[in-house]
C-alpha cells in the first residue's frame, strides 16, 4: 500500500509541527455542521428532502477527508480496512433491506452507532489510563454507559422487531427492583472510577453492567411499544455520539450527536402522546393487557357482520372513501394490495384518501413509507390533525388492522384507560367497515364501542386476504 504511505509523506510536508486543529480543518468542520443542520431543515418539505440528503453527504465526506489529513493520524492501513468493511455492510443493508424491515434495520444502525461511541470511549480510557482526571473519567463513563446500553438494547429491539426474539413482553417478579440495582451498581462503579481513576479493574465490571442493563431495559417491552422504544434508542444513540464529542473535545461530534438526540426525543414524545402514555409507563409500566374488561355488554347483539361482496359494493358506490391503515396492516404486509385497491377505486372515479395515525406503523412514519412504496401518491396520505374534521363528509371508512386508534371511548368516556388519547374520528363517517380477525382487544386491552355502532360493519378476516377478496369482487363486477 505505497500510496497510503505517500499520504503520510504529503501530510508531513503540510504540518511539520502541528498542534491542535489546522485552521482549515476547523473551517471544514464548521461547514459540515452547517450542512447537517441544512440537511434536516430541507427534510421539512418533500421537494427539498433529497437535496437535504445530498447536503448531509457532502458535509460528511468533507469532514472525513479533512480528518484523514490530521497530523495525529499516522497509520492508514487499519482505517482503510475498516472503511471498506463498514461501507460494504452499509451498502448491503441500505440496498437489500425490504421496506417492511426498515424498523429492525434502524434499530441495528442505532446499535452500530452506539457501539462505535462506546468503543472510542473505551479506547480513550485505556489510552490515557495513567493520567486520567476525575472529570475526564466521568465523561468517558457517561459515554460508555450510554453507548453500551444502547448497543445491547438496540440489538434486543432489532431481534424483537425481526421476530427472532419473542415480541411479547418478558416479565418476571422483582424485575424493576433488579433493573434499578443493576443501574445503581453501574453508576456506583462509574462514580468510584471518577473519584479514583486508577481503580481500572472496575472498568470492565462497569461495561458488563451497562451491557446487561441495556438488555434488561428492553426485554419487558412489548411489540406495541416498539415505535416509542426505537425513537428513544435513536435519542440515546445520538447522545452517546455527543458524549464522545465531549471526550475527544470535538464540537462537530457534539453537534451531530445533539441533532440526533433531540430528534429522537421529539419522536418519542410524539409516540408517547399518540399512545397516551408516559416514558416511565412505557419503560417500567408493563400494564399492557392487564385491564381486559368484559366485552359482552359492549358487543352482544350489536355486531353487524359483512362480506367482501357488500364492502366492494359500498366502496364502488361511494364518492369519498378514507382508508385507515393500522399496525395490523404493517404486520400483515398488506401495503401492496392496499395500493392496488387504491388504484382500482381511483379508476372508478372514487376519491380515496388515507388517514394515518402516528403509531400506525412499527416505527414513527413507517406506514407512510410502506404506502409510498406501494405507489400511493403522498398527497393522498394525511396525518391525523389534517383529516380528522373531514370524516363527516366521508361515505365509507375502511379500517384495516387498527383498533385503539379509532376507539371513540378516548374522546367520549373520561373513565376509559385511553381517555384523552388522540384518535381518528372515523365514527363520524356515514359507514365504517372494520377489517379485523376477531373482536379481540388491541394493545390497550379494552373493548371498542365503535364496533357496536349502527354505522359500523365488521369484516372478520386477515387484512391482506380481505383486501384481496374485495379487489376480486370489484373486478368481477366490472
Amino acid at each position: 500500500m505505497d500510496w497510503i504511505n505517500l499520504a503520510v509523506v504529503i501530510k508531513a510536508g503540510f504540518y511539520p509541527h502541528a498542534a491542535g486543529l489546522p485552521w482549515y480543518v476547523t473551517v471544514i468542520y464548521l461547514a459540515a455542521a452547517g450542512s447537517f443542520v441544512l440537511s434536516l431543515k430541507w427534510l421539512s418539505s418533500h421537494k427539498t428532502a433529497r437535496l437535504g440528503v445530498k447536503a448531509g453527504e457532502i458535509g460528511m465526506a468533507a469532514a472525513i477527508i479533512a480528518t484523514l489529513f490530521l497530523p495525529e493520524i499516522r497509520q492508514y492501513n487499519w482505517i482503510f480496512i475498516a472503511g471498506i468493511a463498514g461501507s460494504a455492510v452499509g451498502i448491503l443493508l441500505a440496498v437489500f433491506t425490504p421496506m417492511t424491515a426498515v424498523p429492525q434495520q434502524t434499530a441495528l444502525s442505532h446499535a452500530f452507532g452506539a457501539l462505535a461511541a462506546a468503543l472510542v470511549g473505551t479506547a480513550e480510557f485505556y489510552a490515557h489510563q495513567s493520567h486520567l482526571t476525575h472529570f475526564h473519567t466521568a465523561v468517558i463513563c457517561l459515554e460508555c454507559l450510554l453507548g453500551y446500553l444502547t448497543f445491547t438494547g438496540s440489538l434486543i429491539a432489532a431481534g424483537k422487531l425481526h421476530e427472532v426474539l419473542p415480541t411479547r413482553p418478558l416479565v418476571f417478579k422483582f424485575q424493576n427492583p433488579l433493573n434499578f440495582i443493576i443501574f445503581g451498581l453501574a453508576i456506583a462503579c462509574a462514580t468510584w472510577l471518577a473519584i479514583d481513576p486508577q481503580q481500572t479493574i472496575l472498568y470492565p465490571i462497569f461495561i458488563g453492567l451497562a451491557l446487561l442493563f441495556g438488555v434488561m431495559l428492553i426485554i419487558p417491552i412489548g411489540g406495541g411499544d416498539m415505535p416509542t422504544v426505537i425513537a428513544l434508542l435513536n435519542s440515546y444513540a445520538g447522545l452517546s455520539a455527543a458524549a464522545m464529542g465531549f471526550v475527544v473535545n470535538n464540537k462537530l461530534l457534539i453537534i451531530g450527536g445533539a441533532l440526533e438526540g433531540s430528534s429522537g426525543f421529539i419522536l418519542s414524545m410524539i409516540m408517547c402522546k399518540a399512545m397516551n402514555r408516559s416514558f416511565v409507563n412505557v419503560l417500567f409500566g408493563q400494564s399492557q393487557g392487564n385491564t381486559v374488561v368484559g366485552t359482552d355488554d359492549v358487543y352482544t347483539g350489536r355486531i353487524k357482520k359483512t362480506t367482501p361482496e357488500e364492502v366492494a359494493e359500498l366502496l364502488t358506490s361511494a364518492r369519498r372513501v378514507a382508508i385507515v391503515p393500522g399496525y395490523g396492516l404493517a404486520v400483515a404486509q398488506a401495503q401492496h394490495v392496499t395500493g392496488e385497491l387504491f388504484k382500482l377505486l381511483e379508476s372508478k372515479g372514487v376519491d380515496v384518501q388515507f388517514a394515518i395515525h402516528p403509531v400506525a406503523g412499527r416505527m414513527p412514519g413507517h406506514m407512510n413509507v410502506l404506502l409510498a412504496e406501494a405507489n400511493i401518491p403522498y398527497d393522498h396520505l394525511h396525518e391525523m390533525e389534517e383529516i380528522n374534521d373531514q370524516f363527516g363528509e366521508v361515505d365509507v371508512v375502511l379500517v384495516n388492522g387498527a383498533n385503539d386508534v379509532v376507539n371513540p371511548d378516548a374522546r367520549e368516556n373520561p373513565k376509559s384507560p385511553i381517555a384523552g388519547m388522540p384518535i381518528l374520528n372515523v365514527d363520524k363517517a356515514r359507514t365504517v367497515v372494520v377489517i379485523k380477525r376477531s373482536l379481540s382487544p388491541g394493545f390497550a386491552g379494552i373493548p371498542n364501542p365503535l364496533f357496536a355502532r349502527d354505522n359500523c360493519l365488521m369484516l372478520f378476516a386477515d387484512g391482506k386476504t380481505a383486501t384481496m377478496d374485495i379487489i376480486q369482487q370489484i373486478k368481477s363486477e366490472g
Partner: protein, 97 residues
C-alpha cells in the same frame, strides 16, 4: 479538557435546541427517513474513531478498538444516507390529472 467544557456545553445546548426547532418542522410523513438521516449524521462520530484507528504506535488494543469503531460508524455513514435517499425516492406526487 476542563477549559473547553463550558464552550462544549454551550455548543451542545445550542445544537440540541436548533435540532429541536428544525426537526419539529419535519412532516410526520417523513419521520422514518428523518430517523435514518439523523442516524447517518450522528455517524460523524467516525471522526473520533479515525483518530484512534490511525494513531499508530503499536497499541494492539487501541488499534483494534479504533478499527472496529471506525467500521461500525462507516456502516451508518454509508448505509444511513443511502437508505434515506432510497426511502425519499419512493415518495411521489400524483403524476398527472
Amino acid at each position: 479538557m476542563g477549559e473547553s467544557l463550558t464552550s462544549n456545553v454551550f455548543v451542545f445546548l445550542l445544537a440540541a435546541f436548533l435540532g429541536y426547532e428544525v426537526v419539529r418542522r419535519v412532516s410526520p410523513q417523513l419521520h422514518t427517513p428523518l430517523m435514518a438521516l439523523t442516524n447517518a449524521i450522528s455517524a460523524i462520530s467516525v471522526v473520533g474513531a479515525l483518530t484512534i484507528a490511525g494513531a499508530g504506535g503499536g497499541h494492539v488494543l487501541l488499534i483494534t478498538l479504533g478499527t472496529v469503531a471506525t467500521a461500525c460508524a462507516m456502516v451508518n455513514v454509508v448505509g444511513g444516507f443511502m437508505i434515506t435517499d432510497r426511502m425519499l425516492k419512493m415518495f411521489k406526487k400524483r403524476k398527472d390529472k
